[in-house]
């Protein structure tokens, strides 16, 4: 027999669990950020995380950006050619790349690469007592492990997105000029005429938010993992899944904030 109250109870439990998890993540993030305001600051850990975030993510972000820019040019050409609006393509490419695709695709790629690596590293440190060991060696693990990574995420992902924006536009430019037969200087002129500073700033603000979310999810799930190799594995999965969903959710919220009237 199925008691309808069971279903209600399950929804209630689920909601409570979600609220509790959100609270825990928020507290964790706030604690991590507050450590940035109080010395010492572990510059070496910050630089290591920055290099991991940005430099080693460059190839995958660059490739993703070039191909997305190229695909948008192609797709919008098939859509628009019927109405004779080819000139709009330059604008569509640059606006979709700078406002939307650059930050989101770079964010998702970095979540898969760096978020996973962070969760695995901190998770392994947790289950092998290395995080506890830090505490016995006059080092606050939140300050040493988490704070530098959060800051690195906020700084590195916008840098990556600048590169992604340029390469995305370049991808669209290549297809438009080499394949669709557009005039190169005309294409570039339309590109820069349409793009505004506000678009760039909004895109970079999204990128910084995504970088923070990626680092937060990687650190939170790694830091709180338990139960040996399996626990580290599921922490890694959770970090990537949670970061990806949050990126898409925040993308909507921020788009609403920046662009909707």
């Amino acid at each position: 027999m199925i008691d309808p109250l069971d279903a209600v109870a399950a929804v209630g439990r689920g909601t409570l669990g979600a609220v509790r998890a959100t609270g825990a993540v928020a507290l964790f993030g706030a604690a991590g950020l507050s450590h940035l305001l109080r010395p010492p600051f572990y510059g070496r850990m910050f630089l290591l995380a920055l290099v991991e975030f940005s430099y080693f993510s460059l190839p995958v972000v660059a490739l993703t950006a070039v191909f997305s820019g190229a695909v948008i040019a192609l797709q919008s050409f098939t859509g628009f050619s019927r109405f004779g609006a080819e000139s709009a393509i330059a604008g569509i490419v640059v606006l979709s790349v700078v406002r939307e695709l650059g930050p989101v695709l770079a964010g998702l790629m970095v979540a898969g690469r760096v978020g996973a690596a962070m969760a695995a590293e901190l998770g392994t440190m947790r289950v092998t007592d290395q995080i506890d060991a830090l505490g016995t060696l006059s080092t606050n693990p939140m300050k040493y492990l988490v704070a530098p990574r959060l800051l690195a995420g906020v700084i590195a992902v916008p840098l990556l997105v600048v590169v992604a924006d340029i390469l995305g536009v370049a991808g669209g430019f290549l297809v438009s000029t080499a394949k669709l037969g557009f005039n190169p200087s005309g294409y570039l002129t339309s590109t820069f005429n349409i793009l505004t500073t506000a678009d760039v700033v909004a895109g970079l603000a999204q990128a910084a938010t995504f970088g923070f979310l990626i680092a937060l999810m990687g650190c939170y799930h790694g830091y709180n993992s338990k139960g040996g190799a399996q626990g580290v594995g599921s922490a890694t999965t959770s970090a990537v899944v949670a970061a990806s969903i949050l990126i898409l959710a925040f993308d909507y919220v921020l788009t609403e904030l920046f662009f909707a009237r």
């Binding site: 506890d132 060991a133 505490g135 060696l137 006059s138 080092t139």
Partner: protein, 261 residues
């Protein structure tokens, strides 16, 4: 179960209680450790020995009870004073918990660098000297922990624990997983280090040979309670049925292995 010889103990634990969910791991522990003496706590796997040490270190928050170090209840100290107390405690973790992203010498010097007791070049020298104290060649300092054998990792863990010259030392199963000869060597090093620093020590173990070598006094943990305390030399003829069964490794007796919980 209090002992008249320890009127002014370095560490005084009263009524320490900790449960994980419904499972009570520590159930009202009373323990005194006199300054400059070594206490061994014996008990079966999963009996809560590590939890006891982690409670004293503040890595796990107990549900009830008090822990006094030098007469101050550390559970109720503000965070900063608590960190100052912890800075005077060194801990050798069960699985070493060496930082695998750092070299051996950086591991050993970690606490010194964190407390700004030494600059990097000097810390490196000191690390070499400390490695020599635990019978390792200073050249080992340039290796990574993963390149070391189990016995060498234990030595490095010991070196890291004593580096800041703590007045309290904790050893979590220092000989588990080592061959008997290496176990005896590590015990010898532990006794040397504790003597040289004049530290107060708590060692937890289920290795009887090790317990009698390291400890001045001993206590046995069973089902969350200390069921016996006395001189470590009496371990093998304590007159307590449970201690006897444990120290002689008998299958039958008051202790029945719990196969479910």
């Amino acid at each position: 179960m209090s002992d008249p010889s320890t009127n002014d103990p370095k560490i005084r634990i009263r009524g320490l209680t900790k449960a994980f969910g419904t499972k009570t791991v520590l159930d009202g522990i009373d323990l005194d450790v006199a300054a400059g003496t070594s206490m061994v706590v014996i008990g079966g796997s999963g009996s809560g020995k590590s939890v006891l040490l982690k409670c004293i270190l503040g890595l796990i928050e107990p549900d009830a009870g008090s822990i006094e170090i030098d007469g101050r209840d550390v559970l109720r100290l503000p965070r900063q004073e608590r960190e100052q107390v912890n800075a005077r405690i060194g801990m050798l973790f069960q699985a070493g918990a060496l930082f695998d992203s750092l070299t051996v010498w950086e591991n050993v010097a970690f606490g010194l660098l964190a407390q700004h007791k030494a600059a990097r070049a000097e810390a490196r020298q000191r690390a070499g000297a400390i490695l020599a104290q635990v019978g390792l060649d200073p050249s080992v300092g340039d290796l990574s922990p993963a390149e070391l054998s189990g016995g060498m990792q234990k030595r490095v863990g010991l070196a890291r624990a004593i580096a800041a010259q703590p007045d309290i030392l904790f050893f979590d199963e220092p000989t588990t997983g080592l061959d008997p000869i290496m176990g005896a060597v590590i015990d010898g090093l532990i006794v040397d280090c504790v003597k040289r620093l004049g530290s107060t020590a708590i060692a937890i173990t289920h290795d009887m040979a090790s317990a009698t070598r390291i400890g001045d006094r001993a206590a046995m943990l069973f089902r969350g309670k200390l069921v016996w305390q006395g001189p470590a030399a009496d371990l093998l003829h304590s007159g307590n049925e449970m201690v006897d069964q444990f120290t002689h490794g008998r299958r039958d007796g008051p202790i029945q292995m719990e196969l479910r919980r």
